[in-house]
Symmetry: C2
Subunit: 245 residues, 2 copies
DNA sequence: CGTAGTGTTGAGTCAAGTCAATGGTTGTGG
DNA sequence: CCACAACCATTGACTTGACTCAACACTACG
């Protein structure tokens, strides 16, 4: 089980290069760890934040509630993800982050993170790239919700989660644990829970997936990807970075 | 008419503080200016980019095409916006940027911009904040497309553009030039052109807006904002920045 | 003055939503 | 160990927002 700093470093190095000194500086951060229950807020909309959280284990999601009371999930956070780079240098958040499952979170004081950003260009670059990659995921979600039909929309989400979990070693033979209810999925893809249920059943009937108590099995990722036009490029999980060291 | 560097500096200083030296460094960038026709690509998906473009006049949009051939507009760019911070340190883009109107664009070599980022923490911070603000806009677009009905969706887009144009002095008495066809609007909000037409007519019939050859007039922004639950916070246009200089 | 792009309108269809009832599972407390 | 509650998944019946197709009007421009 990798420690919080290993996770963070690994996450940042997905897209950028750090020097030995950079890694050491990260390891010198003061971190307080906490175990959180499902539905706990990591960040609450319109809050001021003094801490920067890193997800160590478990899942979380970004989320926004409209005036009409509708909840929209904006992205899924997996272990290693920094919860809130937006807290750097800004005061007020525009959305919330909530635990999806029970899990552990590490907190670092914002100021320390900010110092790292201002004093270590490599780390600044790594953070920028992480934020850019996140923005790219948001763009793809716009496309997903705006352009695709129910079934394809869900398939796309399942593909994304599959690839991301694979990248951190949390999937096995194309199967992974997905602790989201159908209601959660509905909030993520902008469909009603009833329609999510029907679409999932269709995906299963067409033998794209199998389901079993909170797990997704897929023996045909190729078919899934073709079904929904999934192209992992937008995740920027390969280190296509020009070195400037 | 402000020059390209003034526009860029002003844009960056919307959210972060720059020192005199930072501003000077930006003004020393070598910039080549070009005038572009509508539909010209500023960035093309899967391209490698050597230039970083800044929109000087006119409008542009980010855009993605699905396998099924559907076009989705992801955001609108207005004068002063940097077209492609994503080009910094990364090689391949995941979406395209196209001119909406005729307009002028300034090009800076990526390497120069990257040096600025690596050597000037204040500028790095300003760029990070610009990227974070853009990500925030993407999130709101997810909500817009996923949660709101046709009429509200369009109203929300009109509110956003109104506020952003206002911030750069391109609106007058709540009216502004909007050089988007109904087809463009459809691609931006994920509706069919026909439905956009009907929704716009409804908005006009309910006297939220008036329309006249490529312009939007609104005498009742308050009503518009309430109609669609628009809250400008997500645009992060006020400089809510903790000073660290 | 014709052509092409855009805007407008109507009619019919369909994907997805809503409402409502039924089953299953898990967990808890008596 | 059972009864109950709470939550989630499933299914059917019906409604509706939005799409498609198709025709027609307007405007700008060469």
């Amino acid at each position: 089980m990798p420690g919080p700093f290993e996770l963070l470093v690994r996450n940042l190095e997905l897209r950028a290069c750090l020097s030995e000194a950079d890694r050491a500086a990260i390891h010198e951060l003061k971190l307080s760890e906490r175990s959180l229950e499902p539905l706990t807020y990591l960040v609450r909309e319109a809050d001021r934040v003094g801490q920067c959280a890193i997800l160590i284990s478990g899942f979380a999601y970004r989320q926004k509630i409209t005036d009409a009371g509708e909840k929209q999930i904006l992205s899924i956070l997996v272990p290693g993800d920094a919860v809130d780079f937006q807290a750097l240098f800004t005061d007020v958040t525009d959305h919330s982050v909530q635990m999806l499952t029970r899990g552990d979170v590490g907190y670092v004081a914002i100021d320390e993170f900010e110092s790292l950003f201002m004093e270590r260009p490599n780390i600044a670059r790594a953070i920028l790239l992480a934020v850019l990659a996140e923005a790219s995921v948001f763009r793809e979600w716009i496309v997903n919700v705006a352009c695709r039909r129910g079934k394809e929309r869900i398939a796309h989400l399942l593909c994304e989660i599959g690839v991301r979990l694979d990248a951190i070693g949390l999937s096995h033979n194309g199967s992974y644990d997905l602790p989201m209810t159908q209601g959660d999925l509905a909030d993520a893809v902008g469909l009603s829970p009833v329609h999510v249920n029907r679409s999932l059943k269709t995906l299963e009937a067409e033998s794209f997936i199998r389901r079993g108590r909170g797990a997704i099995h897929c023996d045909n990722w190729k078919g899934m990807r073709e079904l929904c036009g999934f192209n992992a490029r937008y995740l920027h999980l390969d280190r296509l970075v020009r070195e400037t060291e």
